[in-house]
Amino acid sequence: MKRGLSVVIGFITGIVNGLLGVGGTILVPAMIYFLDTDRRHSHGTALLIIFPTSLVSTFVYYQNNNVDINLAWKLAIGGIVGSYIGAKALRKLKMTWVKRIFAIVMIAAGIRMVMG
């Protein structure tokens, strides 16, 4: 097992998590391609890493008054409802198209974020 490389990949994942507030976007592909983690294990393991990582990030944001608890609650409730619908819809949708639409929305929103 590549211990040194694991720590480095973990560090980069942590920086992105803390700086940008996103989960483990780069972690799953990094584990598969650089650490030879098998696919079945990669998602579960990634989640296991992201939880303590996000906990640390959230704590720092909270200390700086950058967590809106009231908003977080509402988002969590809506999110649970939505994810139930999404999981049901999973087998009915063509994922290639979902991915493409997702990519287009990401790019459009990204442009607005950079320009705005």
């Binding site: 996103v22 939880f51 950058n66 988002l75 994810s83 705005g116």
Partner: protein, 131 residues
Amino acid sequence: MDTMIVVIISIAMGFLLGLGVGGGKLLIPALVLLLGITQQIAQGTTLAVFLPISLIAIITHMREKNMSYTHALYLVIGSVVGAYLGAKIASNIDTDHLRKIYGGFMLIIGAYEMVSKDPKTRLHYKKPKEA
């Protein structure tokens, strides 16, 4: 705060999560662009929302034994340190700058999703009849 917008945003985010497409990545810009909150609060709040959600997902994966604990240990050592530094940096930079950095990140991810044959997608495709 516009409750209707929050309801729509949250359900849409959850829907993407359920599909296995990153919901958090779009939640942050949605909060910034539609609710007009600062980039820092959008990021901090999103991180908080995902804590209970990922906890539930971890339990599910543990039951299915989809974990590699030795791999996780070394990755966590690096990621916790990185998270602390990253969050400190985010808290100390101008919100407009942070938003632009986030926007740049979105463009990269968007372009990647556009061209990649994502392993996540294939994983979901295989699932139904294999078990």
